[in-house]
């Protein structure tokens, strides 16, 4: 009896020992060196695996940053939109690099073709997917550029940051948005854009993507951009360009002066999170907004010059 136990232990033990020796040599022969920093960086990332950085998952992004840090000594073009500046700073400190702060972005819905603004002329029955509806027809209200309201962007969002508003039939982005860009890709009509979140969440954008001429655009939708170029004329910072009868505000040049919002005849330019203007003398809140711009985004002297007259009026 004892004998069998001893033989068994000895046989298995020696087998294990031989295997261990083989494995030891094989492991050292085929060893793949992996930078331990990759693990550290991955640890610092949000682990959302959303792909917003352009890499398939956080691990791939960690590898890319580590490689870039080793080869180029910088992290240019690499950014984790979900983690934002904090995460990028900690990634930078792991890799021993200075990382410049970037402005946080947010998804912006550039369509105001709500049920009220573009009353449906036809009724669409079919697959409940924007991608399909876009491939088949021009839109219920007749605008072939606007939101189809079938919520492909909502399905694409991993962060619960976008919802359909049943009253307007348009999607609404909340502050859970991490600017990963999944909705931008899901939208077949390129309505969603990632724009600078702006100081105190204040931002100005053209809430329309209709490239038609003024008359047909307005015919379908009361709040369409008609390409009248009034905003372009009033903008002192060269931030507005007009292409195919559609205005676009460059958020890197915009100083949030809100002049364009005032002149827009169709209310296609939106201001978000600003204090309401007081009638006439009500320019009071404006400089507040502008000061924050100047402080946080630290743009150029051009901005200072631009807002000087407003400052004078208030001081």
């Amino acid at each position: 009896m004892d004998n069998i136990v001893i033989i068994a232990i000895a046989a298995l033990g020696s087998l294990g020992l031989v295997a261990a020796v083989i494995l030891y040599f094989v492991a050292s022969k085929f060893k793949v060196y992996e930078d331990p920093k990759i693990d550290e960086v991955e640890e610092a990332l949000p682990a959302a695996n959303c792909g917003g950085c352009g890499f398939p998952g956080c691990r791939a992004f960690a590898e890319a940053t580590t490689t870039s840090a080793r080869k180029n000594k910088n992290l240019d073009g690499l950014n984790c939109p979900v983690g934002g500046n904090d995460v990028m700073q900690s990634v930078g400190s792991i890799l021993g690099l200075e990382v410049e702060a970037t402005d946080p972005l947010i998804a912006v819905i550039r369509c105001n073709g709500s049920i009220k603004n573009t009353p449906a002329k036809v009724k669409y029955e079919g697959a409940t997917s924007c991608a399909f509806a876009h491939a088949l027809y021009g839109g219920e209200g007749g605008c072939q550029f606007g939101c189809l309201g079938l919520a492909d962007c909502v399905d694409a969002c991993d962060f619960d940051a976008i919802h359909m508003n049943p009253e307007t039939g348009l999607p609404v982005v909340n502050d859970k948005c991490t600017a990963c860009g999944a909705c931008v890709e899901a939208c077949p009509r390129d309505i969603i854009e990632l724009r600078k979140k702006g100081p105190k969440d204040r931002r100005i954008f053209v809430s329309c993507v209709n490239k038609e001429k003024g008359a047909p655009a307005k015919k379908n939708c009361a709040v369409a951009c008609i390409g009248c170029a009034k905003c372009d004329k009033v903008c002192k910072f060269d931030a507005i360009t007009i292409n195919s009868f559609l205005a676009y505000i460059d958020f890197s040049k915009c100083t949030l002066c809100r002049k364009c919002v005032e002149v827009c005849p169709t209310e296609a330019i939106w201001e978000v999170n600003f204090k309401p203007r007081k009638p006439k003398e009500g320019k009071a809140p404006k400089p507040v907004a502008e000061k924050t711009v100047a402080k946080e985004n630290a743009p150029t002297a051009k901005v200072e010059a631009g807002k000087a007259p407003d400052n004078e009026t208030t001081e």
């Binding site: 409940t128 399909f132 088949l136 027809y137 021009g138 047909p216």
Partner: protein, 446 residues
Amino acid sequence: MGILKTFALGGVHPEENKLSSNAPIEKLALPKQAIVPLGQNLGAPSKPLVKRGDQVKAGQLLAEAGGFISTNIHAPVSGKVIKIDNVIDGTGYKRPGIIIDVEGDEWLDDIDLSTDLKTEIELDGKAIIEKIKNAGLVGMGGATFPTYVKLMPPPGKKAEYLIINGVECEPYLTSDHRLMLEKGPEIVVGTQILMKALNVKKAIIGIENNKPEAIHHMQELVKPIDGMTVQPLKVQYPQGGEKQLIKAVVNREVPSAKLPIEVGCVVQNVGTAFAVYEAVQKNKPLVERVVTVTGKAVKKPSNLLARIGTPIHQLIEAAEGLPENTGKIIGGGPMMGKALTSLDVPVVKGSSGILLMKKEESVREPENPCIRCSKCTTVCPMGLEPFLLSKASKLGKFDMAESEKIMDCIECGSCQYTCPASIPLLDYLRLGKNKVGAIMRNRGKN
């Protein structure tokens, strides 16, 4: 007659509803304004040659082919070009088009407008193809593939059979049926012209058995002609599909992603054969076509000879107006047609019919979960698995859709017709085809 021929795989037999089959073709009055879209064929849109303010005569070249697979477009009316602008087309999107204000009805001088039958074929094969190309002919069955491309087999391939498609398997539509009854001799000459152009000895006109008078009429007409026969076929949708028709008539199978010329066949619609006759013998480009206006509530289901560019509301008026309880207006037949979003959509080269559906008919049942009954697979005439393909394109798995041969789908809609769970299978398949096609084209570029 024995057992009638048909294709081998799948197929359905929807209610035929050929309401307008006894209505003779009527000539529709000229529109006040003709809207001529520039993208009327499969392939690249045409390039406009006229400017705003130009005076044009009917039959004059308006736009030239914009690529290899593209066609010329001719002025369907005489008058003044008032705008080259985006116009609404059958999909509800606005695409470039030419708008002409109609003034009188003047034709180019070299167009023969007489109705005398001209049987002598003077031109040789090459000249015929050139003529067909210049006249802007496309497949009149609805796919609008440029006709001349089909007549030029790639080197090394030789056509054996010319098959003339008089099947008209779509329910409701009767434009080809009426054309065969009223323009039979012209169609026969058109077929002879096509035979000469292709240098084939055998032509077969395939007609479904639900049009006995057309079969009889055509049989009488082709009797004296060598190599031309009429083949009656069992009524089965989608027999009018090119590949299905070839299988039914000559029992050959076109391989996946290949053209009918691979098995020595060229298929042309009877409408195309008639247009070929007009283009070659009468020098008349493709500027008008027969359109069926039909529906259960339509007071006077009609077959109308309408100029290209006529807004469809004018056709509906000719059929004694829009019925009150119209739920949907469909461009084409009920199986493959697309719902139109506007009554200003013009007649184009591929418009075979306008179907006005009653509200209660047009309701789409809500989508239910797939119960794996495999009915869609059974009826698919291409041997595909629609449930799988629709799922793949719904989930964005386009690589899988491609490897499961989504591009072989002919969009006949049999799967959706038969689905007991009312899944919009064809919708998803069309999306998938769209995306996979784009992916494949991009791959070709890189």
